[in-house]
Symmetry: C2
Subunit: 323 residues, 2 copies
């Protein structure tokens, strides 16, 4: 649980705000989108005027387009400087991408985040690295805003929690996380419907892309690490959309006996890499070494070079790699 | 919650029993294996002598061989008639397969089950179709046995709950189920480790089998149903074990827009079919029509005939099939 005094401070700021804008990090995931929409709906209920902006791209990723309110995201360039900007799930303001300037133009900046490396750049900050998702911190905030969760809020925040725990599979699946999930279901979130919408909504093209990824799985470092990859051409040949590769790494993870898995998306010049730890290896530390970031169990980075160069540089730093 | 009086009656029977044998249904799944081992360990802790038997096969499915106590399952033919037999997750005693005679030889039969169609054939029965898993009913029983859950018990029963809710994805993922999961984690179950052991422990052969299954997915009934299949030869060519096909249907399920999916395992003469509903279609009713059984959202059956014959007979009874 985050400090109640911090939540109260945020509630005070929001309640007296003539205008609020909510945003999250670039390449929004389920926690980013769900937390933004959950908080926006909560502010609606509390009659606090608010808007939601996207840090990158023109529309919300289709995976999360089913969430209630997903059509309310706006381009930050078209939004006026607000009294209050709430940055969600963003450990630093620069992670807000195209929305960073808008955030800095606000009279008051609020940061609500659960990343362990969050930097307190807001005037008011709610940081709690024990929270499984930023969505859980927004959930806690509701009581301080005197808002009772409805099914829409609960659905957005359950999706945030569901995705940030890897469907209750990562080490952040704490008793608190599960109890918060229970309360969200009680408030109207539909676990089965939200699971289906998030994880069982693949196009035929995405199924083919998964097939390719499964075929290419390559164990290295004495079997402690496995990697696979998809290329720009794969997207063209299967018809899969880039965002349909978001959970590809889960399929690589499923190989027996590996500590760490790496999924590389490459155009031959750069690699966008995702790392997942199945044991307590800190892949966040490895990602940071390569200019990226993330959590102990789930992290990402961008590498300037091709896949072979990346493997040559990164494998020594992973289990079984000798460093 | 099951009726506390029923739990008390079971606890009374068990506490005075000179010998207890625990068993579950044929083709044991995670709830069967987890509930048996969780209860056995609880009886150990309560100093009640007990044994655990397998209803089919010579050893526990390798998927669940990691569970604490998995090596204690015995062949029912080698076990003497007990004072008390506890049938878990078996809606009828005939589902106990090779252990049915042993159950019927007991002075007192106890049935603990969550299937909606459970038949009260025991002298004492704990039935609760609102329980997400039989493992949850065993969890409730602990208090009546004055047993505090340890990490072993919690791990077995969490695995029962995890698998019977399809990793918290089926419609039985109730607030109670999630709160019970939270309590199990508090008692020492490791959600991440148990998820990895259960779902992310695939052999390279199993990965190839999944690839085949993904390639063969075929939408029918106007896109409301999709099926895929694996043959006896596929197991030979990939090297996958039959039990490695247990969760194959989850990959078929993931296709967008389908209400029901069917996975067929066939040797050309018979089909072992699994059905899953992604909406509120009752596939249990369809399975029962074909001599099988199960829940609304997850069911199975065996069909005498080849895949084409099965499809000709079954598709009309599924969504979009016109009946």
């Amino acid at each position: 649980m985050a400090d109640a005094a911090d939540h109260r401070a945020v509630a005070r700021v929001l309640r007296s705000a003539p205008s609020v804008v909510i945003g999250s990090h670039v390449d929004p995931d389920g926690d980013a989108v769900g937390s933004c929409l959950g908080l926006a709906r909560a502010l609606d209920r509390a009659r606090i005027p608010c808007e939601v902006v996207l840090a990158s791209g023109l529309s919300v990723p289709t995976t999360y387009a089913f969430l209630p309110g997903a059509d309310r995201f706006r381009d930050p360039a078209t939004v006026a400087a607000p009294a209050v900007f709430v940055a969600l799930d963003s450990p630093e303001l620069r992670r807000l991408g195209a929305a960073e300037d808008l955030a800095r133009s606000a009279s008051t900046i609020v940061m609500i985040d659960h990343h362990p490396d969050a930097v307190p750049e807001g005037h008011v900050n709610v940081f709690d690295s024990t929270a499984a998702a930023t969505g859980c911190l927004v959930w806690e905030l509701l009581a301080h805003l005197d808002v009772t969760a409805d099914a829409e809020i609960a659905s957005c925040l359950y999706t945030a929690l569901l995705t940030d725990t890897g469907r209750f599979s990562y080490s952040n699946t704490t008793p608190d996380a599960l109890r918060t999930a229970a309360a969200m279901v009680e408030a109207g979130a539909d676990p089965s419907g939200l699971f289906v919408a998030t994880y069982e909504n693949r196009s035929a093209a995405a199924q083919r892309l998964i097939g390719l990824t499964l075929e290419r799985i390559t164990p290295v470092n004495g079997g402690l690490v496995a990697y696979s990859w998809v290329t720009a051409e794969d997207f063209a040949s299967t018809g899969a959309l880039p965002e349909e590769a978001e959970n590809l790494i889960d399929h690589v993870r499923a190989l027996r006996g590996v500590d760490v898995v790496l999924l590389a998306k490459t155009d031959g010049k750069t690699v966008k890499g995702s790392l997942r730890a199945k044991t307590d290896t800190d892949v966040g530390a490895v990602a940071r070494r390569f200019g990226g970031g993330g959590h102990r169990a789930a992290a990402g980075f961008t590498f300037a070079g091709d896949l072979d160069s990346l493997l040559a540089e990164m494998l020594p730093h992973l289990p079984g790699g000798g460093r």
